[in-house]
């Protein structure tokens, strides 16, 4: 993909709304399934030989699609526009099978295809100088950018949103947000070494805020602490504009030796396609099941959960397992499974490679044996990875996953055909050019309109406000400020986060940025800070984005590190609202200009659209993270006063 990074929110309101109906054409009807259904035994020893999924579902094969061109397909319910559906038919020269339709619909969704943001995001790649990119080992477009920090070390980092799931089920939503971003980092070949979280909630005294705040913070605490990743900073703001749409962004940083770099591509015909990690369940199918709750009764088809439950233990084991696979050089290409699950992993791996891929979907190990092939393709079950493995290394690969009790199944192989072919019990249900799924999706130039209200908003300045006249008034204003939730101490959150684990944390809260030692001998390390002020951006999205970058840059610089690279998470309202699209275009232009001016490149990030309550969009909230390099963390500069007798200087204007 040429947009930065990969997936946006795994549940986006637009998709959720319209994709509620799932692929009914192939769903076999079941009577109410007895409880508990999740009885697939978890056996300590993983099997290379997969447990075949139930073969009773009648698949919509390619043959069948050719034979029944007139068949009506629920593309609208899957979020595809009529012209997008027509385009798929054109690409394939026939109607898509239901499995193909599932894949195109998730991969062409806003959150996977960046169809509304792509034309703007290009600026991040264009407004660069050779000097800016000389230390970039991997730039935009991969799972995360990779920066050479010297001494043979590299750092990879990225911030991503999990906003909508965190509103529906705050604890699990936030927890799986951390899990998702950490898998992006692992898939680059890196050891994750830190996380951060950027949070925005509604009014602090709204009755629903406590549910969201405590759920989100304990979810982050639970998942991050259990993974053993120090949390080294973040942001917490309260504003009524986020009431029905809190922002939960999570950032992760990983470190690797240069030679350990791994990319998401499937090359070399005959190499094996291997799925490992948690079993596949019916979780968050296409991110759409949230609004499918009307079918959640015991007489209808099997329930499909609206939320995903995270298993940080499974992910911790997956991290160690992956690092051992890298160490022993057993992986040729690797991709994490996030939004769009197997659809995304197979089509991206195949498109980034040099050939094609042939997969037998019934080899996927299932948590819920009643899943249909389309559901397996769309499932967003957490804690899974897909690797490309040379056949002669397969046994060694399986030995490592067995050591870590990680279940593994071989799904198929890389081919030289240039096609992504997926079978279901031997019958071909998908046969596509993977690039048409993963790369050449639709691109929109959405209408843009200058918000008419913005001039009045800007004209309404603080200069018109009354000034305090008496000392009592000054005192009460001071007290009001001190008591305001946005200025008050955030210890009640950060005290739940472990920053000691791994033993390399040189700075963390309440410092302006976090800092991690990378090399225990030399003291080489990195600093990182993130910032965004939605209120500034509401007044002027371009200036606001620049200010966010400038603040994060300063926070890194004052720690003693040299700013080197940028990641961002662009949280906005609906792209179908021309005023929001204007805000977005302004913010990206401002941010990319400011990056050029400061001389640091954007290496990756994430776009989250459709953040709004009813028709009211959130403030434009481009969270900007800056990463800096420091030769020796012993020379860090903390934010607090260190010793008596030091002089205090105020710099700047």
């Amino acid at each position: 993909m040429d947009a930065p990074g990969i997936h946006t929110d795994s549940s986006v309101a637009e998709e959720a709304g319209s994709r509620a109906g799932r692929i009914d054409s192939t769903r076999r009807h079941r009577t109410a399934t007895p409880l508990p259904r999740d009885v697939r035994p978890y056996r300590g020893a993983p099997s290379a030989v997969s447990t075949p999924a139930s073969p009773t579902a009648v698949a919509d094969t390619v043959e069948n699609a050719k034979a029944t061109p007139e068949k009506e397909q629920p593309y609208g319910a899957l979020g595809l526009k009529p012209d997008e559906y027509a385009k798929i038919g054109e690409i394939l020269g026939r109607r898509p099978t239901s499995g193909e339709l599932a894949m195109y619909s998730v991969m062409w969704s806003e959150h996977c295809s960046y169809k509304s943001s792509k034309i703007y995001l290009r600026q991040f790649g264009q407004k660069v100088t050779p000097e800016m990119t000389k230390n970039l080992m991997v730039g935009m477009g991969e799972n995360a950018g990779v920066v050479d920090i010297g001494e043979g070390w590299a750092v990879t980092f990225k911030v991503e949103s999990h906003n909508h799931p965190s509103y529906i089920e705050p604890f699990q939503g936030a927890a799986t947000g951390v899990g998702g971003i950490v898998r992006d980092i692992i898939s680059m070949g890196a050891r994750p070494v830190a996380v951060m979280d950027q949070l925005r909630f509604g009014k602090i005294d709204d009755p629903d805020t406590a549910r969201v705040v405590h759920g989100v913070t304990s979810g982050i605490s639970f998942y991050g602490n259990c993974l053993g990743l120090p949390n080294i900073g973040g942001e917490t703001y309260f504003d009524p504009v986020y009431q029905g749409n809190p922002l939960v962004n999570a950032l992760s940083v990983g470190v690797l030796r240069h030679e350990d770099l791994h990319l998401a591509n499937a090359t070399g015909a005959g190499n094996k396609v291997v799925l490992f990690g948690a079993r596949t369940g019916g979780d968050g199918i296409g991110g759409a099941s949230i609004l499918a709750s009307d079918s959640f009764d015991s007489t209808g088809p099997t329930k499909r959960p609206a939320v995903q439950v995270g298993d940080p233990f499974a992910e911790k084991v997956l991290i160690e397992c992956c690092l051992e696979l890298y160490r022993d050089d057993l992986v040729q290409g690797i991709q994490d499974l996030g939004a769009a699950g197997i659809s995304c992993a197979t089509s991206e791996l195949a498109s980034n490679g040099d050939g094609g891929m042939h997969v037998e979907l019934s080899h996927v190990l299932l948590r819920d044996p009643s899943l249909t092939p389309e559901e397996i393709l769309m499932s967003e079950s957490q804690e899974r990875m897909m690797a490309i493995v040379e056949p002669e290394k397969l046994d060694a690969f399986l030995a490592v996953t067995a050591k870590w009790d990680v279940e593994t199944s071989v799904l198929g192989e890389v081919t030289g055909t240039g096609r992504l072919v997926i079978d279901w019990h031997g019958e071909e249900i998908v046969n596509v050019d993977p690039r048409t799924v993963a790369i050449d999706g639709p691109v929109y130039e959405r209408p843009v309109a200058y918000p008419t209200w913005i001039d009045a908003l800007n004209a309404d300045t603080a200069s018109t406000l009354p000034r305090p006249q008496t000392s009592d008034e000054i005192l009460s204003q001071f007290l009001a400020l001190v008591a305001s939730p946005n200025l008050a101490s955030k210890n009640w959150i950060t005290d739940q986060y472990d920053y000691y684990v791994l033993g390399n944390t040189a700075l963390s809260f309440p410092d302006d940025g976090g800092m991690i030692r990378v090399d225990e001998e030399s003291g080489l390390g990195f600093a990182i800070a993130t910032d965004a002020n939605g209120r500034y951006c509401q007044l002027d999205p371009s200036q606001g984005a620049k200010l966010a970058l400038a603040e994060a840059y300063r926070n890194v610089a004052v720690s003693g590190a040299v700013p080197a690279a940028v990641t961002d998470c662009l949280n906005f309202g609906s792209p179908e609202n021309p005023e929001v699209m204007w805000q977005f275009s302004q913010a990206v232009e401002g941010l990319s200009d400011a990056c050029l001016e400061l001389g640091i490149p954007v290496t990756g990030g994430n776009v989250s659209f459709y953040n709004q309550t009813g028709d009211t969009p959130i403030f434009p909230t481009p969270v900007v993270g800056v990463l800096g390099i420091i030769d020796d963390v012993a020379r860090r500069v903390p934010s607090g006063w260190q010793d008596e007798g030091h002089n205090i200087y105020l710099l700047g204007t």
Partner: protein, 98 residues
């Protein structure tokens, strides 16, 4: 003193990491008869007075609103146990509910 027992289980269609961990441990310990494990919560609520229909209705409300999270859990039982203590070993073959 009557005790009201409220049983809450994770929804069947969701991943239950706790159950998975216990099932894995059982397998490693050599048991291969148990094929699935799910772990939920058991609340024992005690009242001073007698338990009537109003009390039970109130407990059902509490079970739904406070003791369980309807997004990920089901209340699978609200039961009155006479006597102050629940036996340390229940008889086999008893059916909790119809």
């Amino acid at each position: 003193m009557p005790t009201i027992v409220v049983d809450v289980m994770p929804k069947a269609e969701l991943l239950d990491p706790q159950g998975k961990a216990v099932a894995g441990a059982l397998a490693r310990l050599g048991n291969n008869e148990i094929t699935g494990v799910r772990v939920g919560k058991r609340f024992e609520l005690t009242t001073d007075g007698p338990v009537d229909d109003a009390t039970l209705a109130e407990v059902r409300r509490i079970a739904d609103d406070l003791l369980s999270n309807s997004v990920i859990e089901n209340v699978v039982g609200v039961t009155v146990v006479d006597g102050a203590t629940v036996s340390t070993e229940a008889g086999t073959g008893e059916t909790v509910a119809p």
